[in-house]
Symmetry: C2
Subunit: 477 residues, 2 copies
């Protein structure tokens, strides 16, 4: 295991010379924010210094210096992760990319955009729309950086139609741990030109290199969309409709599910009751929210009618069309508030972001609830019914922290084991960070985990880049 | 460099014991076919033995034995490649997967199919259709194995709408060079669970492991499709229309281009003149062939009308609708015959399979023709206008082989350099094999090429699996 060095005053001076004093922070000047991400349960780890970089060249200089001196470097975007991926477990440098936030250029002939990695998802999405284009990946956390999205291969709600972040990354500039700069990919969508280092880099959580520029594929903005709320008696019936919806050639943009409790909490939180709780005299226990896109009202009407008939045959109480802009806004505001609502209700929180085959979603939810109950932990959830990616939260309010951690871990251990049994994977989009390493290892097995470690060694023989994440272990400082 | 051993009678006996004598061939019993693929210009290399495997376990046993004894193993599917990827440069074992040709099961809830790697593309496509499903990747060579398609990340004509083979591989079973068996991926479409070994394996041309089972994503079969032929005066005008077509929100399934000479040859060869040569009194010099898919005739009619108007504004002489089954069959038969037609016309042949940004296609074609002319080599081509993937052939009839090779290499050197200058990549879908290694190295540079070599070393420290391909060098035997 590499023995890291501390940052000496001499090295600090060199780092400061690279980024300039306004973008260099050490000691007490390091904000508390840099010690954690958005999942506080995993603790705080402070960097020795923070460098806010503005260019590939600065990143390269920093990496060269830190590599020569065995100083750990942890890249960080907006810090919106949930598994500790950007937390500097071993101190050293936090290399913050949020100032690299320029949309560099659009290429309208090839439908791509060139950006710096610190551009926020919401900013890219909005800017693309002004050109009549859409950046399809749509993870729930809109204030994440796109570089962070690429590093975690974030998925989001539209994955069922458009795929995930991976599918939109055509090229990138990467700084390797020793400071060398490498270009991967080109402005082309089809390639078979050697091992795909590009795809290896996507989802590698800043452990193999630091992304400093991105070329992303865009698509023409769909002419119009409509959402439909399908209320069901319970989550099992709701989820059972999903394969039918997927088979029906409606090509939905998203198929989300939500249970009654989270809808009620969201209504209380936002003050908007957009999801009907009683339909034709029957209590709704769960909902499917489908979004369709199309070229014209005529085309969408045909699709809506077909979906309505299908939903009825699957046991939906009704099909509520969300067509007006105002109603759409309210529905998606309610949907987007789910995590905030859970956080607002809960003092102690931990989460699973598993992905299971679509037809195992309901069974898995039932299992997690029972596992939670056995440990006295409240389970809340919502997720992407179209792709099997579930966001499941272990919640408690009246419990000591250590007690919560112990019980929550017991729930996690059971649930990740069940996820493997069901043919699922550890993370759909939040990635591994340092919080989920054990479960990744258990899930993929020794052979694949060993290959990941050997690949890490190829890219980063000194182990200085984002240590302790994905597949490497460190002694925490 | 590893010193490989020859197969001794003792080892041959062990190999024969693994697969049984009916599926084991040595010496004169090895068919000539196993010494080459479909591009004869790259020479013949004979294996010492051929093993026709039928199971993961047999592959694992063979790899363990060969690894212990430093014997090279070259996996081979249907042998339809064009860059020598399945050719046993160093002798040893050819491990033939064509008997692993079972479609194992469909999972209609999750829209996936489990298959063995030796299933032919045409068989999978046809079988899926009988379930109302479509396997979207559609490379021109329908008798390739799907395992071969995955190993080269084959793209095909529908890539512009549906993406490439990579986008449909959810999971695989892999035998590593030392015989260990590894499962990668699951029946899920969204994952962020460690480095993507799955994506590293896709397109690695059988150099990192041998695929013995695949889980592939399917989609509901589109209700209907229609193709439209757009004749233009010349290839520059034709290609200039492509970005406009892509921006128009028509979501075409394919956008192919073809020049007049290849259309004429194809008509002479097939006896069917489906592409009009004179339109409204004007000679057509090039064509764009667009296929649209949709749910109903009404939906497609709206799209066709929009495409027609757009095509006219881009200088198309007309828009010819290919709607009837008979006409569709003729048009696609003509399109599918292009390579066969070139082969039939030509004694000496070599090819480029570059991919360039869509707006550089015409410039690149003009350049290649000039480069060919300078060396006295005839250039013929066709390709995928929607994604920039060009199939370009160096042809000659009255030339000595060595002279052709020398001149053809001079053309290639120039064209690959120009491709890099234009921001393209060495191969769109045919991959690297041993024929294109030099150009891959020049294109990606020392850093990326060195990382590929180090990754190969991680998976295959003895270098016994498919030696001399993608990024490794061997002394040819």
């Amino acid at each position: 295991m590499t023995k890291y060095n501390k940052i000496t005053p001499e090295i600090a001076e060199k780092l400061q010379a690279i980024v300039g004093e306004k973008r260099f922070f050490a000691g007490d000047a390091v904000k508390d924010d840099f010690s954690h991400d958005e999942m506080p349960i995993y603790g705080k780890y402070y960097p020795e210094v923070v460098c806010e970089v503005e260019s590939t060249d600065e990143v390269s200089q920093i990496m060269r210096l830190c590599c020569e001196n065995n100083i750990p470097v942890t890249p960080r975007g907006a810090g919106t992760g949930l598994v500790g991926g950007c937390v500097p477990l071993c101190g050293g440098v936090v290399l913050c990319t949020t100032r690299m936030n320029k949309i560099l250029s659009y290429d309208m002939n090839n439908l791509v955009v060139h950006i710096q990695p610190g551009v926020l998802l919401c900013d890219l999405a909005a800017d693309a729309l002004t050109r009549g284009l859409m950046y399809p990946p749509d993870p729930g956390e809109k204030t994440a950086t796109v570089g962070g999205n690429v590093s975690t291969n974030a998925g989001g709600m539209r994955a069922v139609k458009y795929g995930v972040t991976r599918d939109y990354v055509l090229a990138m500039t990467v700084v390797l741990p020793d400071g060398r700069v490498m270009e991967l990919g080109k402005t082309v969508c089809k390639t078979s030109s050697g091992y795909s280092l590009l795809h290896l880099m996507i989802g590698s959580e800043g452990t193999l290199g630091i992304i400093t520029e991105l070329t992303l594929k865009l698509i023409p903005k769909p002419a119009m969309d409509v959402s439909l709320i399908l209320p069901f008696s319970d989550v099992e019936t709701a989820i059972a409709s999903v394969p039918q919806i997927k088979l029906a050639n409606l090509d939905p943009q998203s198929i989300e599910f939500m249970e009654r409790d989270i809808v009620d909490s969201s209504a209380a939180f936002t003050g908007n009751s957009v999801f009907p709780t009683v339909v034709n005299g029957k209590e709704a226990g769960a909902y499917i929210l489908v979004t369709l896109v199309g070229d014209s009202e005529a085309e969408l009407t045909v699709k809506m009618d077909r979906l309505g008939e299908l939903a009825e045959s699957c046991g939906a109480y009704d099909t509520l069309v969300v067509w007006t802009d105002g109603l759409k806004k309210d529905v998606w505001a309610a949907r987007s508030a789910f995590l905030t609502v859970i956080e607002a209700d809960t003092k102690l929180l931990d989460e699973l972001d598993v992905v299971v085959p679509v037809d195992r979603i309901a069974d898995f939810l039932v299992y997690t609830r029972a596992a939670g109950k056995a440990e006295g932990i409240t389970i809340r959830n919502f997720g992407h019914a179209g792709d099997g990616n579930l966001h499941i939260y272990c919640c408690a309010n009246d419990m000591e922290l250590d007690e919560f951690k112990r019980r929550s871990k017991a729930v996690m251990d059971k649930c990740y084991a069940k996820c493997s049994e069901f043919g699922g994977q550890v993370s759909g989009e939040h990635a591994i960070g340092h919080a989920k390493k054990q479960y990744l290892h258990e899930s993929v097995g020794d052979t694949a985990f060993g290959l990941m470690q050997a690949i890490k060694q190829v890219f980063d023989p000194k182990g200085i880049l984002n240590p302790g994440k994905v597949c490497t272990n460190v002694e925490e400082v």
